[in-house]
């Protein structure tokens, strides 16, 4: 695989391949020295046009554990205003000899534009409201390992997942829905109409605005971050109303099935969508998502950059 830009481009076979690789990487991470020489001499650049310290650190940790050289290139939006085009930026950094770019941008499609202008691999670390494929992969990995299932094309069969919140503006939701359904899960999205995407009937999901109707009936409750700036766009009346209708509070938590996983892509908005402490929940796997993130990103980097004959085991 040359690039990882979206879940549809990766396809179900690609998802399964990454999940299998992730199992190896989990094993690597358990070693006393969690490091293998798979990507020695390869340079991986984090090209972040939008701040995201967590995602960047997760990727850079993954790259270092595979012995790649890592660099960070933070592009403030002001440098764009200085007259440098997107193409200038990628061509300049590419000229330094880069094997892969990990790209985060506030605008959908930038990873596709960049891959026209560089020979390096492009790994999408989030573009606009569009895709965040490594998040979807780590979420799939988390769910199927918590369920004790081996990676396969139907490893989420029969799993019912509720995704709650601002689906409209969420690259996590778009990627997750594609990956979950590709592996056989069924998804219900829970949001007011203002936070659903246009033409949501073309998505492979059920839709409801009543969280209480579905909360006792799902295997995974996936809470999305509610961004406070949405208040300025008249998308919901106020945060209190949002919390009342879509927040996870004690009453709702008590109605969850005992084995229901609670997930969140982070960072959590305490007191908005999360009215309970995740540590009080029986099956919160939110920190597990973070640690799985490193293994899955190692798997992605290895898949994109690793030589066919190179061994993960040292």
């Amino acid at each position: 695989m040359k690039h990882l830009r979206s879940i549809p481009e990766l396809g179900v076979d690609g998802i399964v391949r990454i999940l299998n690789l992730a199992d190896h990487m989990v094993e690597v991470n358990r070693r006393p020295v969690p490091k293998v020489p798979a990507l020695v001499g390869r340079t991986v650049v984090s090209l972040f046009f939008e701040d995201s310290t967590r995602t960047r650190i997760s990727f850079e940790t993954a790259a270092k554990r595979l012995s790649a050289d890592t660099m960070t290139f933070s592009v403030s939006t002001s440098s764009v205003n200085k007259g440098e085009s997107l193409r200038d930026t990628i061509e300049t950094v590419s000229a330094m000899g880069v094997a892969a770019f990990i790209v985060r941008h506030k605008t959908s499609g930038v990873p596709w534009q960049l891959s026209d202008w560089t020979d390096a691999s492009i790994i999408n670390a989030g573009d606009g409201w569009h895709q965040h494929p490594t998040q979807a992969l780590l979420d799939c990995h988390t769910i199927r390992t918590e369920l004790g299932r081996a990676a396969s094309a139907d490893c989420l069969a029969g799993v019912r997942i509720a995704i709650v919140g601002d689906v409209r503006h969420s690259r996590v939701a778009r990627s997750d829905i594609q990956a979950f359904t590709a592996l056989g899960a069924s998804v219900v999205v829970v949001a007011p109409r203002t936070l659903l995407p246009p033409e949501v009937h073309t998505w492979p999901v059920e839709v409801t605005s009543n969280l209480d109707e579905v909360i006792g009936d799902v295997d995974v409750l996936y809470m999305l971050r509610m961004q406070r700036e949405r208040m300025n766009e008249a998308l919901v009346p106020d945060l209190g109303e949002y919390s009342n209708r879509f927040g996870l509070d004690r009453t709702r938590a008590s109605r969850l099935r005992a084995e229901c996983l609670v997930m969140h892509p982070g960072p959590m908005n305490r007191g908005v969508e999360m009215m309970v402490d995740p540590s009080d929940l029986a099956r919160s796997v939110i920190t597990r998502q973070v640690s799985n993130g490193v293994a899955v990103r190692m798997a992605v980097l290895f898949d994109v950059l690793g030589e066919a004959n190179s061994e993960v085991s040292s």
């Binding site: 764009v80 085009s85 997107l86 193409r87 200038d88 941008h105 506030k106 605008t107 959908s108 499609g109 930038v110 596709w112 534009q113 573009d127 606009g128 409201w129 569009h130 895709q131 690259r171 778009r174 995407p197 246009p198 033409e199 949501v200 073309t202 998505w203």
Partner: protein, 437 residues
């Protein structure tokens, strides 16, 4: 007069199609002297000798095209286009007149700027550059432009193109004030509060791509508002770049009510849909956005039944580095002048004469230049003519465009319909697809 006088042109072997002929046209040879058609003769008649002889065999001779919607970028954005380069693209595309949109810097809201644009067009000498004027000062939507003053410089079409006039009171006043001046308000219909940050059509494609949507209703609300304002004020409305099926319906109904409403559609809106954005290539970002196949069908139907009067290019050049940006930062717009005829004749399924009506005499009338463009090809008429090969196939190549910019969405596309020669004000400015200046 000396037959080799520089001011003489003969067009030989062609078939004339104009507003007075049927779709088949009639064979005729043409002799042009000093900017006017001096002789229209049956084939085989010996014409007076001429300095330039244009071969029109197997071709159609028609009045030159008129573009109601051209961005020439001068003054202010000469990195993307100048009046000279834009005029050259126009002449190569068969246009003998283009209406220059007023979103220049400074904007075309004063006689000084309007006269500058007209004069630059004259200097280029490739087609007539007809300046439009702004509806509001600086296109800011706050204060009316002195219309009668600009009329002294020959302006009859007023628009804030790129911006719709948002304030309904101001627009009502513009229609009222202009209603007895014989001028036309050309509206870019977009309620901007509904399109903040929008990159593409709001629909299932934008939903999956996670791009902010430009909903059809944002156009339709303003089309509706302005039609109703025309009804109560007696002003005259031209709807720029109609893009949605509901807009076509409203315009059709307004015309049935006898209201003075006209409309144009761009070639890109009847040939490309929102799925083009799946490439994330900003060359496909345009305002209003590319819509759906259902909208395309409605726009074509509107052209066929006369609801939409004109095909206009919205030729919007942007330098490469401006388009090589993320979709939200890249400016909207695409080239249009050099491909308009091929797309119209090749993709609409309309007879040639109907296509020419939409490209020539209908827009000439709307632009207020029907005294010299879109005229019948007859003795005594101004010689603004084009010679066309409606069946000739060619491939669009962004590297070969005459425009200073290269942002054509049709790069690599095979099209049918070619402009062979263009005669502007009696001079052969394009011969065998080559600009003569």
């Amino acid at each position: 007069m000396n037959g080799r006088d520089m001011n003489t042109v003969n067009i030989v072997g062609g078939r004339i199609v104009d507003s007075t002929t049927d779709a088949q046209g009639r064979p005729a040879d043409i002799h042009i002297v000093d900017g006017r058609i001096a002789v229209v003769a049956t084939p085989g008649t010996t014409l007076p000798a001429a300095a330039t002889v244009l071969d029109a065999s197997n071709a159609v001779v028609s009045p030159g095209f008129v573009d109601l919607h051209t961005h020439l970028r001068e003054p202010g954005r000469e990195e993307s286009e100048t009046i000279e380069t834009g005029s050259r693209a126009a002449a190569l595309g068969g246009f003998t007149a283009v209406v220059a949109m007023p979103n220049t810097d400074p904007a075309q809201d004063s006689r000084a700027v309007v006269e500058f644009v007209r004069e630059q067009g004259r200097r280029a000498g490739l087609c007539e550059v007809v300046p439009s004027g702004c509806i509001t000062v600086g296109r800011a939507g706050e204060q009316l432009v002195p219309y009668a003053e600009l009329m002294k410089s020959g302006v009859t079409l007023f628009t804030d193109d790129g911006n719709g006039v948002q304030d309904p009171l101001l627009m009502r006043r513009a229609f009222e004030y202009s209603s007895d001046l014989g001028i036309t308000m050309a509206q870019h219909c977009e309620v901007s509060r509904l399109t903040a940050g929008a990159v593409m059509h709001e629909g299932s494609c934008c939903s999956h791509l996670g791009l902010p949507g430009w909903p059809a209703i944002a156009e339709e609300l303003m089309v509706h508002r302005d039609i109703e304002l025309v009804r109560i004020t007696g002003g005259r409305l031209h709807v720029l770049h109609v893009s949605t099926a509901r807009s076509v319906d409203m315009i059709r109904a307004a015309k049935a009510d006898g209201l003075p409403v006209t409309a144009e559609v761009t070639p890109h809106h009847f040939t490309l849909d929102d799925e083009s954005l799946r490439t994330f290539d900003p060359v496909f970002k345009v305002n209003p956005p590319l819509r759906t196949m259902a909208d395309i069908d409605a726009l074509k139907a509107g052209l066929r039944d006369g609801t939409i009067d004109a095909i206009a290019t919205d030729h919007a050049p942007h330098a490469d580095h401006l388009k090589e940006q993320p979709l939200d930062a890249a400016p909207p717009g695409m080239l249009g002048l050099e491909t308009a005829f091929a797309l119209a004749v090749g993709e609409l399924g309309m007879d040639l004469r109907s296509v020419l009506a939409c490209l020539s005499w209908n827009p000439a009338r709307i632009a207020g230049i029907g005294d010299r463009h879109g005229r019948p090809v007859a003795e005594g008429e101004p010689a603004n003519l084009v010679v066309l090969d409606p069946g000739a196939a060619w491939v669009v190549d962004r590297g070969l465009v005459a425009s200073k910019s290269r942002n054509t969405p049709y790069h690599g596309r095979s099209v049918t319909g070619q402009v062979r020669h263009t005669v502007s004000n009696g001079r052969a400015v394009v011969i065998d697809q080559v600009a003569q200046r």
